[in-house]
């Protein structure tokens, strides 16, 4: 009895926190739930004046309509190409640059770090006009390569900065010890540093993947051919082109969001720590 009453104030606070926590969760997740629910609802249950918060008749017809609508498969393919292309190139370039600024001294190194940080702050929307004109002048409008190149510039600062943190976190003594034991510099890097920065590589590659998968304005401006559209552009044009078929729209939205959520959830800890490592170190 005595122990119970001693614990009560604390557990009451905890109960309140739990209730608030559940309420926050319900409110925050509701839009996602509503998207999923609308996507699997049969058409007759979507446009109702009294909303239905559950369905006993889940159907795939919305997904079928979304997939069969013009250019969905093109958009999916383009998105996959652009996202993985950006990710792979960004990963290689960022790892090289991160090693350079974490491990080597050279004149202009600080200037390079400064530029990388400043570039991150240049608004994307400010650069659309010149990038469009630039790609237009070399006939690279409507080319996925041009889009990948553009995305690289917006993904690299973050990936370099995050990876730098991971590389710097590996004690140089470890590498030196490996080199004393007969490894070359490259072998020491490959066998000692690379495995240790793997979580960083994972986090930054997912980041690059998600950023380029989600990006909208650049793709909207640079890819005007319908068969060159990426998923976000396809999704937005889906609204304007055929009135609003909310069922198919939410099915398309689900298909675009689901891979991102899954990827993000798998490496959630690394992404969170990766983002904060860049921003909060100190």
């Amino acid at each position: 009895m005595a122990t119970l009453s001693a614990r009560r104030p604390r557990s009451r606070g905890r109960t309140v926190a739990n209730v608030v926590g559940v309420a926050v969760s319900v409110v925050m997740i509701f839009p996602v739930y509503w998207m999923l629910l609308t996507a699997v609802k049969p058409g007759s249950e979507i446009l109702t004046y009294t909303p239905r918060f559950w369905t006993w008749h889940p159907s795939g017809s919305n997904f079928v309509r979304a997939v069969r609508s013009p250019h969905f498969l093109d958009a999916l393919g383009n998105s996959v190409l652009v996202a993985f292309g950006t990710m792979l190139i960004a990963l290689v370039l960022a790892l090289l640059a991160a090693v350079a600024i974490a491990r080597f001294r050279f004149y202009g190194r600080r200037a390079f770090v400064f530029v990388v940080l400043v570039v991150q702050m240049v608004p994307l929307s400010a650069l659309i006009i010149p990038i469009y004109l630039l790609l237009n002048s070399i006939d690279a409008v409507n080319s996925l390569g041009g889009v990948v190149l553009t995305y690289l510039a917006f993904v690299l600062p973050f990936t370099i900065w995050t990876l730098r943190g991971f590389v710097a976190g590996v004690p140089a003594e470890l590498e030196e010890a490996a080199m004393v034991d007969g490894c070359t510099r490259f072998q020491a890097f490959r066998k000692i540093v690379l495995p240790l920065v793997f979580p960083g590589l994972l986090a930054t590659s997912i980041y690059a993947l998600i950023q380029s998968w989600n990006e909208f304005i650049m793709a909207y401006v640079l890819l005007s051919d319908q068969n060159k559209e990426t998923l976000p552009v396809w999704l937005v044009s889906f609204v304007t082109a055929r009135g609003i078929d909310y069922g198919a729209l939410m099915a398309g939205a689900t298909m675009m969001a689901l891979p991102v959520v899954v990827f993000f959830a798998i490496i959630q800890r690394h992404v969170a720590s990766g983002l904060t490592a860049g921003a909060v170190k100190g």
């Binding site: 926590g21 600080r110 390079f112 469009y132 690289l152 690299l156 710097a168 909208f216 991102v260 909060v280």
Partner: protein, 325 residues
């Protein structure tokens, strides 16, 4: 620049010479320096091509008068000096857009920080299962693409079949049938703010939670024992410890919210009305809506300059926190 950055750049974990004049033995060869240059070369080329050149081009463009004729004929556009800037800065409409953008940014950043702080505090106080639940929810929301979440919110706020109108209509005496949230720019921006803040809370909340969970419980308990209220404890004990984190999430939020584009663009069905235009949208509409590329460029330059103030602040803060080296 603070003196801190003048220290020789050495990898953490390496015993750095205190005065910066004596270089460690293995750094004296020329090859590491060369390797360093080779390693950053690809990045430098990409950034120069897709950031540096366009930035220069943007400034030049804002001093020219490029119309569709020059764009298609390939003729050089004539230089007009600061005529575009004079037009932009002399237009009262432009200043309305600036004001709108600033107000929008402030509202969004404040709401994001307050709600994220609340979420982080709840996460710390809650049981483990509840914290896990909140974390999973935050991760899901964080992962939602902006385009998707905007479309979903438009569906939630649909004038005819939207859940929100139905929910508010449950309040006795309130008739929300066919209420169009976007008919009025203030309530329309309310919806857009909701979309932006909803999407921004997860990063800030998780970052703050990571910081808050590092704050020693003993410190706060001591303050409580000494008679501080919960609010005082947070403001006087927890917040000062988290200040560096707050600085960074605030500045990042300002930078992100100042250039919100997707949510406004998609929420207004790719045709934002004049009263929905913030700087990013305004510049874009000038360039691609009416082919006034040079005018759009001038607006973009002004936007960059406005943000540069924040950027300098951010970089200085980073240096002070010892992020570089």
């Amino acid at each position: 620049m603070s003196t801190h950055t003048e220290a020789p750049p050495t990898a953490p974990g390496t015993a750095a010479p205190p005065d910066g004049t004596v270089t460690p033995r293995r750094r004296t060869r020329a090859t590491p320096r060369l390797i360093g240059y080779l390693l950053i070369l690809p990045t430098v080329v990409v950034l120069a091509g897709v950031q540096g050149y366009p930035l220069v081009k943007l400034v030049l463009l804002s001093l020219q008068d490029l119309t569709q004729r020059e764009l298609f004929s390939g003729l050089p556009a004539p230089y007009v000096g600061f005529a575009n800037y004079a037009r932009v800065l002399g237009d009262p409409g432009f200043w309305t857009v600036v004001l709108r953008t600033v107000v929008f940014t402030v509202v969004n950043v404040v709401l994001t920080l307050v709600l994220a702080t609340g979420t982080a505090l709840v996460m710390r106080a809650a049981s483990r299962w509840c914290r896990l639940l909140v974390t999973v929810v935050l991760i899901c929301v964080w992962a939602m693409p902006q385009v998707v979440s905007t479309l979903v919110f438009n569906w939630l706020f649909d004038y005819e079949f939207g859940v929100v109108n139905w929910l508010i209509g449950l309040v006795p005496g309130v008739d929300m049938d066919n209420h169009d949230w976007y008919a009025n720019a203030v309530s329309g921006f309310g919806v857009i703010t909701l979309i932006v803040v909803w999407g921004a809370i997860p990063f800030v909340a998780i970052t703050l939670y990571a910081g808050i969970s590092q704050v020693p419980k003993e410190l706060e308990e001591a303050a409580r024992v000494d008679g501080a209220s919960a609010a005082q404890t947070f403001l006087r004990v927890t917040y000062p410890i988290l200040r560096p984190i707050y600085t960074i999430v605030t500045v990042l939020s300002v930078i992100w919210d100042f250039q919100v584009f997707n949510q406004i663009w998609v929420a207004r069905g790719s045709k934002p009305e004049p009263e929905y235009q913030t700087l990013g949208v305004y510049s874009f509409m000038h360039a691609f809506g009416v082919n006034e590329y040079s005018l759009g460029a001038a607006v973009a330059v002004v936007t960059v300059l406005l943000l540069l103030g924040f950027t300098v602040f951010y970089i200085r803060q980073s240096l002070r926190l010892g992020e570089i080296d």
